[in-house]
């Protein structure tokens, strides 16, 4: 019975290819949008999560001015001082704090010469930014106190300067400063936000301040917040302390920025949020239009096939069997449209994720969900025409011309 109805439905569809494809169009677009939407959403989420874990979890960043700046770029806003660092270290739930002075300098070893980011910080930097030591040692108190010319190499910088050679104990030149390599960092991987976290030379904060840039400024601060703490509260407190220390009048705008990693990652993906909203709107509208289209065509079909319905009743079909036939027809049309939509959605999300540089994620659940949505629309919008068919009186239907 059901198999027969499916056959009949497919036959009806094949008999009117143009009408059928127009009927399915809404479903195709709708389901394709849903699939692409979910897939891109999951890709974005995966990317944000990866981004956050690359930068460091529970991380709060503080910059002068209105946002993060490229190393060496000058902000109109005054930089931070060591006293700011000490004040923020006392904020409850701040586990550790890494003050940073960062610049860009040519770095030379032998005949290799690259320009890269030179970051001065304390030993807290590794913990806060979640860098792992690959070899050698981190900074000691005496390195900081004595502004000693020692450095750790990021994974990429080490590759650039030393290739396969062991850099430990070698001396490189950072600007005009000769500096001993005491350790190397494990790779953090390429960050999509453009923050290449493996290209850096990490030195004691004091060394960079006194011997590289020649000032005592602190360009940014990274705070590690306790695992179970409310980072929003910590950020509010940081903001309040800095406003007071920087003597900002009530009502005046901050001349610094406090962000956590989530916000920063979200900012990088705001473009995909807009796309998600657009796809969502397209999906909703085209599924609705698609459903109504199916309903409309089936209502026409019921009228066209009134005699057939009467004949089937004369041959012993009950109302419920007529109902089932048209319901199945509706579901078959919407599922066919759904299948094509799934295919297009998967291909579309593949293209879009490549273009947006996010991971391409298509989960089986997504496809099943899309299939389910298509089936549900088939049932919902098939009910009205199917009931119209089932309610026909056999004799009226048979007499129908």
């Amino acid at each position: 019975m059901i198999r027969q109805s499916i056959w009949m439905a497919l036959r009806e569809i094949l008999l009117n290819p143009l009408r059928s494809s127009l009927t399915m169009l809404g479903m195709v677009i709708g389901v394709a949008s849903v699939v692409a939407l979910v897939s891109l959403g999951q890709g974005t989420t995966a990317q944000v999560t990866a981004e956050i874990s690359r930068m460091g979890r529970n991380l709060v960043m503080v910059f002068p001015g209105s946002g993060p700046r490229r190393a060496g770029a000058v902000s109109d806003a005054p930089p931070f001082e060591m006293a700011d660092v000490q004040a923020l270290e006392r904020v409850p739930d701040v586990v550790s704090l890494a003050p940073v002075s960062s610049t860009s300098r040519p770095v030379i070893y032998g005949n290799r010469n690259i320009t890269t980011q030179v970051t001065g910080s304390s030993d807290a930097f590794l913990q806060v930014r979640e860098y792992a030591l690959d070899s050698g040692r981190g900074f000691e108190e005496s390195d900081l106190a004595g502004a000693r010319p020692v450095c750790l190499l990021g994974y990429q910088t080490r590759q650039d300067l030393f290739g396969d050679q062991d850099p430990l104990g070698e001396t490189i030149r950072v600007g005009r400063l000769a500096c001993e390599v005491i350790g190397t960092l494990a790779s953090k991987g390429q960050s999509q936000s453009g923050m290449d976290q493996d290209s850096l030379v990490l030195m004691p904060l004091t060394t960079v301040q006194r011997r590289v840039v020649g000032n005592t400024w602190i360009g940014s601060m990274f705070l590690k917040v306790a695992e179970d703490a409310d980072s929003a509260r910590v950020m509010d407190e940081v903001q309040a302390i800095l406003r007071e220390r920087r003597r900002i009048q009530a009502g005046a705008e901050d001349n610094f920025t406090v962000r956590d990693t989530r916000e920063i990652a979200a900012a990088f993906t705001s473009a995909s949020t807009a796309l998600t909203a657009l796809l969502g709107a397209i999906a909703a509208v085209s599924l609705l239009v698609g459903g109504i289209g199916i309903m409309n065509i089936l209502l026409v079909s019921v009228t066209e096939r009134t005699r057939e319905i009467g004949l089937r009743m004369a041959l012993g079909a009950r109302a419920r069997e007529v109902l089932l036939q048209f319901l199945i027809e509706s579901v078959v049309i919407s599922l066919l449209g759904g299948l094509i939509g799934i295919l297009l959605g998967v291909l579309g999300s593949l293209a879009a994720s490549g273009w947006m540089q996010i991971p391409w994620i298509v989960r089986p659940e997504t496809l099943m969900m899309a299939f389910g949505v298509a089936a549900a629309i088939g049932v919902v919008f098939g009910i009205l025409p199917a009931r119209k068919a089932a309610r026909l009186e056999p004799i009226e239907a048979l007499r129908h011309e």
Partner: protein, 236 residues
């Protein structure tokens, strides 16, 4: 015949179409009994109520008044689903216009009533083929109706009516659209079914030649029975 439950028993069956001034009395208190295995011809001019009677006999329509017992069951006590169930099991229809499903092959058309009876596919196919072969259409099973002649289409329709092994076959002007040679073929088939398989046949026709195939002829005029007689000159 006595003691046997009639296949059809009508008691003052009345059908009125429309209301008020527009009302048409299509059947006017018809009482009739048809015993099992009878071949009955219903005659009458156009508009005398023959098709109305057939639709009521097949429970495709409900009477305005009067009672109808089918194999002893009062049809008015049945709901639409129960009528459909009895119809699919016991009643076969043959119409003047053949009424085949245009998109299905001959074989598939004959299978349709068996689908509603939930007959499993292999048996369905076998029985449909048998029915078509019995009507000399063994080499036409894959043809769609438009590729068949009128006589062939009507034989497909008869096969479809027979395949459920009905106890009652209702044929409303089955030869109305056929030439005389084709008509005789169809009448031979109906007569043969009646004699060999004991199927009760009610045949509506306005052609006296066709009515002569039946053992009993009932003539209608203006929704009433004008005459009801045995046919002594039955065509063999």
């Amino acid at each position: 015949m006595s003691g046997e439950t009639p296949v059809i028993r009508l008691d003052r069956l009345t059908k009125i179409y429309g209301q008020g001034d527009a009302a048409v009395v299509a059947l006017d208190g018809v009482s009739l009994e048809v015993p099992p295995g009878q071949f009955l011809a219903v005659m009458g001019h156009s508009g005398s109520g023959k098709s109305t009677l057939m639709n009521l006999l097949g429970f495709l329509d409900s009477p305005t008044d009067g009672k109808y017992w089918f194999q002893g069951v009062d049809v008015s006590t049945l709901d639409a689903d129960q009528r459909a169930l009895i119809r699919r099991q016991f009643v076969g229809f043959v119409f003047q216009g053949f009424h085949l499903l245009p998109r299905l092959s001959a074989l598939e058309n004959v299978e349709v009533p068996l689908i509603y009876q939930r007959v499993p596919a292999p048996e369905r196919r076998r029985r449909a083929l048998e029915a078509l072969e019995a009507l000399g259409l063994g080499d036409r099973v894959r043809h769609v109706p438009t590729k068949l002649s009128g006589g062939q289409q009507q034989r497909v329709a008869i096969a479809r009516a027979l395949v459920v092994r009905p106890s009652l076959l209702l044929a409303d002007e089955p030869t109305g659209n056929l030439d005389s040679a084709r008509s005789i073929e169809i009448m031979e088939i109906l007569s043969d079914l009646n004699r060999r398989q004991g199927i009760t046949v009610v045949l509506v026709t306005h052609e006296p030649d066709m009515a002569l195939w039946a053992e009993r002829i009932v003539e209608f005029r203006d929704g009433r029975i004008l005459s009801d007689r045995r046919n002594d000159r039955r065509t063999a």
